[in-house]
Amino acid sequence: MYWTGFTPDEAREILVNKDKSKRDKRMELAEAIDIFVKDGYNIGIAGFVNSRQPVAAIHEIIRQGKKDLTLSFQSAGLAVEYLAGAMALDPTRCSIKRLEFAYWAHESFGISPLFRYLAESGKVELEDWSNFNMSARFKAGAMGIPFIPCRSPLGSDVMQANRSKIMECPFTGDPVALLPAAHPHVAVIHVQEADIYGNCKIKGPLFTCPEIAMAAGYTILTCERIVDHERIINDPNRVNIPFFAVDAVVEVPFGAYPGNCHSHYYFDERHIKELQAAGEAFRKGDRKPLENYYTHYIYEVKNTAEFLSKIPYKQLQHIQQIEIRDFRLIHSVSRSDNGANAKSPAMLHRQLSSGR
């Protein structure tokens, strides 16, 4: 068995020797990436598909030109797409070596042209898992156990493509899959609110963010806003990641843009499609649109604020409004929203005999 991040023993030693005190961990994004992200590292990428992905941190990783990265995640879209594009344009500047993952695409926004490009040309090592597998691997890491039992990927070809093992359960006699813990060298995570110590509160689905933070050797936390410590601990049951699992706290409003950040902004479809189209053009042989995209939005800007200043303000305002004002209500649902007692048209109420 080989370990692609820290081994369980190494991951523990790092924590044992770490200053775990409650101290101000605020820093600039560039500084955090410079200190904690090294060439050859295994990076745990938080978020899920295009929601709450650590996009700002990834842009900075691209600007700093980190190489030979292993990316560990369950399902990702934008964060990995940006890294893939940087590698596609110039692999000597920024590169992915290996993927441990379950899904790379954009759901309703389509497949990932740059993943297809990298994978089909054999430019990255692949290790396929399922969403539960990767989430459970991070969970095992967070729990301090070297592996975790799981039902999936039993019966599938995934078992031939990755490091999981089958054992006979000593209690039931049935086969069970064992997944090795994942301890990325560093985790990059974007959340809504954190205090200066790193205690943070996640709104909406947690994805696998707490587990990734606890499993990783080091954790960079970007957040929409830094809030008072007292506000965070007002309801300690709602703190999702404790301060001592965090090494850097960076306030980055719109840090998941153009993705979705629950309670702050919805997807910027227009911008995501712009990136997608540039990637698709690249896959078909025209590198110009992707070069232009990277020059304009990533390499020519110093930080996220400068990136955002290139986006029309109305577009930013629009995605905040969709998110906050809920204006795309499904009216029938809203009207009849009485849970199990909702009334619906009588005709449709009848038991449809067909198809049963």
Binding site: R151, S152, S156, T208, V333, N338, S344
Partner: protein, 270 residues
């Protein structure tokens, strides 16, 4: 009971799939929904005969009602509206693994006669795993739902190249090699695939052989046309029937209320 003007005049194969998916869902069941058409079908079911359906989304939301609009992702903000429980991926999949999820609602790029699915790669596996002919997005949560939900409902585009004798890669287990007890022997639980809903048919599985069986043809299709578009021999149910077309109201809900922007259901250009 039915009168002819109940039915919609025009509808796309995708719309037919969504309507069929919605109709298959029983009220008050827990349904673990994959992205795309399953989300549309669940919403349609909630709006029609099954307001008590409890959707589970893999990113963490349990039991939402999609009052904020159709989610564009199983992890986006819209999945959380009126949710009753909201943790993360581990929590959602653990619910399924524990036995809380009656149905998993998934798709794939390829399917075989035993309801196994491929959503990983097209090409020679394992030889060319590291540089496949076509690289697909990967399992996501589909294989997890297939492994742990009590039953699965599968949605497919019905093309010969997708209904294959042999998959390039088995991502999501169905009845595996179809032998008796194959799932249990592999360590899986749950009863396996329940229905396959396609652009041409509704299919089930034979109790004895676990091979795919044609139950109903979609409007405009015949037993023969379905078989011609399938890459393996289909069993045909003795009572095979024509599936009831979408009603006007079903189509109206899909087009006007659930997916007015056409994210998952492409508009028909008249």
């Amino acid at each position: 009971m039915e009168i002819l003007d109940t039915y919609a005049d025009d509808f796309s194969p995708q719309e037919m799939i969504v309507v069929a998916g919605a109709r298959l869902l029983e009220n008050n069941k827990v349904v673990f929904a994959g992205t795309g058409l399953p989300m549309v079908a669940i919403t349609l079911a909630q709006l029609t005969h099954a307001p008590g359906i409890i959707p589970v989304f893999e990113a963490g939301a349990v039991g939402p009602r999609l009052t904020r609009g159709l989610p564009l992702s199983v992890g986006d903000s819209r999945t959380t509206s009126k949710a009753m429980y909201l943790q993360g991926l581990n929590s959602a999949f653990e619910l399924a693994q524990r036995g809380f999820c009656d149905y998993g609602f998934i798709g794939g790029a390829e399917i075989d006669v035993y309801g196994n699915l491929n959503s990983t790669m097209i090409g020679d596996f394992p030889a060319l795993y590291q540089s496949p002919k076509v690289r697909l997005p990967g399992s996501g949560g589909a294989s997890d739902m297939a492994a742990s939900c009590e039953r699965t409902i599968i949605i497919m585009v019905h093309e010969k190249r997708r209904f294959k004798e042999k998959l390039s890669y088995l991502t999501s287990p169905g009845f595996l090699d179809g032998s008796p007890g194959a799932r249990k022997r592999a360590g899986l639980v749950g009863k396996g695939p329940y229905r396959v809903i396609t652009t041409r048919a509704v299919l089930g599985f034979d109790n004895e052989t676990r091979r795919m069986k044609l139950l109903a043809t979609m409007p405009g299709e015949t037993v023969q046309s379905v078989q011609e578009n399938t890459g393996f021999d289909l069993l045909v149910d003795d009572n095979v029937y024509q599936f009831e077309p979408p009603s006007r109201e079903e189509i109206r809900l899909v087009r006007d209320e659930i997916d007015p922007e056409g994210y998952f259901i492409k508009k028909i250009i008249k």
